[in-house]
Every structure is written in structure tokens, then in C-alpha cells.
């Protein structure tokens, strides 16, 4: 288990760096992170299952200006680990998927708060950098940037260990205690989560022409899926 957490921490630091500080090549997206955590904790498909739903849930919140969106990377770490651990012991039902996704919300908000804190500390680093440059030390810029990147990476490692640890505990201790009735209650909420993801996509792509396109495609695919399966 130590090796798994070590591997998760390495992946987590890369994902959190990609989120803000470096690259931005989408390695931090929930689908990538949850699948990776699923692979680390023993079930890549369970991780991808929750990651695919989580991928769309927070799309409507854009990282524009000073606004920080909820930490969907952290939520994916929790959900991927919990899904993989519970899938390998009791199987992953629709109820378990929903429960894992809903329980990941505190991680998204905690990660957002941690991100805000890192950016505040970076403000101090930036002002120290400016003071050193004033004195003629150009290397201070490189040191300041390195300090900022290190802070983002360290915060990423701590959050990863926290979220995957919580995910493993929830997957092992909490989910197996859910009875069939509880699972079916949660399972009934799963379509709402998927519609929430679709609404997120629709919300951030909304222009005059996308509304009819979105609803028409939804109706056509609904009819095709329904008729195909009903006839079959």
C-alpha cells in the first residue's frame, strides 16, 4: 500500500502542476486523474467510470481572472481511489458510483481552499522577488518562480495523499456497508449527475445556435437508444 500511495503522490504532483503552475496540457482533467488513480489502486475501469462522469460536472466553472473553480482534480483522486478499492471488493454498482461522486464534493471545495492559500503565499514570494530584483539580483526571478512551482507541487502531494487516503477508507469501510435499498436510492440519482454534466457542457458552450443543436441531438439520440434497446 505504501508503494501505491507513493505512486499516487508522484502522479498527483504532476497533475496539480498541470492544473495551474505548468504546461496546462490537460493531464489534470478528472478523466485522466481518476483513471490513473484507478490503475494505481487496482481497477482502471472503475476509475475511468467515475472519471468520465466527473469530467463534465465542473466544466461550467471557468478559471478566468482571479476566480478559482472547484478542484475537480482532487475530487477525481478521491473518486478514482474509492471506486477502484470498492470495485475490487464488492463490485461497482450505479449506487456506489453516485455515492462516490457525491462524497467527492468536499474534496473539490477543500482543494479550492488550498489553492487559494498557495496563491496567497505566492504573493509574498512575488513581493520578495521584486525586492531582490530592485537590488539588482536577476536570479531572484528564477528562484521566485521555482519557489512558486515547488509550493504548487508540495500542496499537490499533500492533497493527493489526503484525498486518495480518504478515498481508500470510504471505498473499504463505508461503501460495503450500504445495503441494497441505500444503493438503489443513490442509483436513482445517477441520471441527475449525468444531466448535470450535460448541463455544464451546454452552459459553457451556449450561444444562439447551440441550444437547438443540443436539444435536438439529445432527443434524437434518446429516441434511437430507446427504440434500439426496446426492440432488441
Amino acid at each position: 500500500m505504501y508503494f501505491q500511495f507513493l505512486l499516487a503522490a508522484v502522479i498527483g504532483s504532476i497533475a496539480y502542476l498541470d492544473r495551474t503552475a505548468a504546461f496546462q496540457v490537460m493531464l489534470h482533467r478528472p478523466l485522466v486523474v481518476a483513471t490513473a488513480m484507478g490503475a494505481v489502486f487496482g481497477n482502471v475501469f472503475a476509475g475511468a467510470q467515475v472519471g468520465a462522469i466527473l469530467e463534465l460536472l465542473y466544466l461550467a466553472r471557468l478559471p478566468v481572472g482571479a476566480s478559482i473553480p472547484p478542484d475537480d482534480t482532487g475530487a477525481a483522486m478521491f473518486a478514482g481511489a474509492a471506486a477502484a478499492v470498492s470495485a475490487s471488493s464488492v463490485g461497482l454498482s450505479a449506487g456506489s458510483i453516485t455515492a462516490v461522486l457525491l462524497l467527492s464534493v468536499p474534496c473539490a471545495e477543500l482543494g479550492k481552499a488550498a489553492d487559494r492559500q498557495v496563491r496567497r503565499i505566492n504573493g509574498r514570494i512575488a513581493s520578495l522577488t521584486a525586492e531582490s530584483v530592485e537590488k539588482g539580483d536577476s536570479h531572484a526571478v528564477e528562484q521566485g518562480l521555482l519557489a512558486g512551482v515547488t509550493l504548487f507541487a508540495l500542496s499537490g502531494v499533500v492533497l493527493t495523499l489526503l484525498f486518495t487516503g480518504a478515498g481508500v477508507v470510504v471505498g473499504r469501510q463505508l461503501l460495503p456497508r450500504f445495503g441494497p435499498a441505500s444503493k438503489s436510492f443513490f442509483a436513482a440519482l445517477l441520471p441527475v449527475l449525468i444531466l448535470l454534466g450535460a448541463a455544464s457542457v451546454f452552459s459553457c458552450t451556449r450561444i444562439g445556435r447551440t441550444a437547438p443543436v443540443f436539444y435536438l441531438t439529445m432527443a434524437m439520440v434518446f429516441a434511437a437508444t430507446f427504440l434500439f434497446r426496446w426492440a432488441g
Binding site: A21, L31, S203, M218, A223
Partner: protein, 252 residues
């Protein structure tokens, strides 16, 4: 005028990927921008340390734009620094140029990358992950980066040719049309995703007669959620509400 050599320019291009490395509320991407342009400044002012300090102070002022669009401004600022060192332009024009461009580039970049390309890549990834997880991940990364990385490279290259080329690049790239196209593709994929899942769920709940009612309910739910997003309700708040409902039902 003495220009920067290729190695220095390449170093500046690589460094732009750390534009947000020290993101802070006061100067936002200021340290990242100064870090990115530093190799060029060291080259341009290698025998004038006071000028280097002045130039660095210029670039440590407030700066914020969409990170993928930062390359255009970085390239153009680098070119302006070369011209300022040669006495062709006033060094104060560099700050004015950056401030003038960062807002509009930020708006174009936010609309294209966050509002169109990322949703399109995400929904493509989510749909294909149903076939195989690695197919989904590959789709997400390829759809996004096949557009993202060339824009970073072309933007920086255009910027380094001068402000006029940078403006030409922005006009010639057709961001407005590309944004609209990608938004439509994302809407089609999002609608297909919602329709497929609802169709599957409707089957579990009953007969064909109930299907239109189920579809109407799904459409109304999406519409309601979209209205909530427009009223600045966070997805976390909606999910938390669902978690409370789920917990209460289980408790009951």
C-alpha cells in the same frame, strides 16, 4: 540592432509553459512572465546590468492573460525589448503594449480554450471512455493539444516578428469562427451523451408510453440546471444538495 539568437528564443518559448508558476493575487502571472523573458533580457542587456534591472522591473508589473495566449505577448514583448535596446522605441511602450493586449487576448483565449475547446475535448473523452478508458484519455488529450500547442508556437513566432505580425496572427487565426464551431461540436456531443444515458435510464423505468414524458423531464432538468449555472450557482452546491437528499433517503 542586435537581435536575440535562436537558442535564447527557444528558451523563452519553453519557459512560457511556466507562466503561471508563481500565480498570485497581486501581480497574477508577473513572475512567470519575467521568468519567461529573462533569457532574452540577459542576452539583450548583457553589458548593461542597470538596464537589465529596469527591464525586469517592467516585466514584474501586473500581468494576466489566458496562459496559452501568453506566447503572443511574450514574443512581441521580446521583439520590443530588442527595439528598445536599439533606441527604436521608448521602453515605456512595452508596458503599454502588454497592458493593451493582455485583456483582449485573455477574452479571446478564455472563450476559445475554456469555453469551446476544453468542453469539446472533455465530452469527446467522456463519450469514448465508455468504449475504453485509454481511448477516452487519448481523445481528450489529442483534441485539446492538437490545437493548444500549435497556437502557443505560432503565437510566439508571430509575436517575435513584431507587433504587426502578432495582430495579423490574431486576425488570421479566425478565433471567433473556430470558437463557434467547437462550441457547436461540443453541444452535439453533450446532447448525444445526455440523450444516450436518458434513453437507457428510461428503459429501466418502464414502457414506451412513458418515454416522451421522461425525455421532457430530462430536458427540463438540463434547462433548470443551466439557469442555475447562469445565476452563479456552483456545481458543488448542486452536488451537495443531492448528497443531502441521498443521505436523508438512506437515513429514512
Amino acid at each position: 540592432m542586435e537581435g536575440t539568437d535562436k537558442a535564447v528564443r527557444r528558451s523563452a518559448w519553453r519557459r512560457q509553459f511556466l507562466l503561471q508558476g508563481c500565480w498570485n493575487y497581486e501581480g497574477m502571472q508577473n513572475v512567470g512572465f519575467a521568468y519567461s523573458i529573462l533569457p532574452a533580457l540577459r542576452h539583450i542587456y548583457r553589458e548593461k546590468p542597470e538596464e537589465l534591472t529596469k527591464a525586469l522591473k517592467r516585466h514584474l508589473e501586473y500581468f494576466n492573460t489566458q496562459p496559452a495566449m501568453g506566447g503572443v505577448i511574450l514574443g512581441a514583448a521580446l521583439k520590443l525589448e530588442e527595439r528598445a535596446a536599439a533606441g527604436e522605441v521608448d521602453s515605456r511602450d512595452i508596458g503599454t503594449f502588454k497592458v493593451g493586449l493582455m485583456g483582449s487576448l485573455g477574452a479571446i483565449g478564455d472563450a476559445y480554450f475554456w469555453g469551446a475547446l476544453r468542453p469539446m475535448a472533455s465530452v469527446a473523452g467522456a463519450v469514448l471512455a465508455l468504449v475504453h478508458p485509454f481511448l477516452g484519455i487519448a481523445a481528450l488529450l489529442l483534441v485539446y493539444n492538437l490545437s493548444h500547442l500549435p497556437i502557443r508556437w505560432k503565437g510566439f513566432s508571430a509575436g517575435i516578428e513584431g507587433e504587426e505580425k502578432a495582430v495579423e496572427f490574431l486576425k488570421g487565426s479566425g478565433f471567433a469562427a473556430k470558437t463557434e464551431d467547437r462550441k457547436i461540436v461540443a453541444a452535439i456531443l453533450g446532447g448525444a451523451y445526455a440523450g444516450a444515458v436518458c434513453g437507457k435510464t428510461a428503459l429501466m423505468f418502464g414502457s414506451g408510453q412513458a418515454a416522451p414524458a421522461f425525455l421532457l423531464l430530462a430536458v427540463l432538468t438540463v434547462h433548470l440546471l443551466t439557469v442555475l449555472f447562469r445565476k452563479a450557482v456552483s456545481p458543488s452546491e448542486i452536488l451537495l444538495f443531492l448528497l443531502i437528499i441521498g443521505t436523508l433517503l438512506v437515513w429514512h
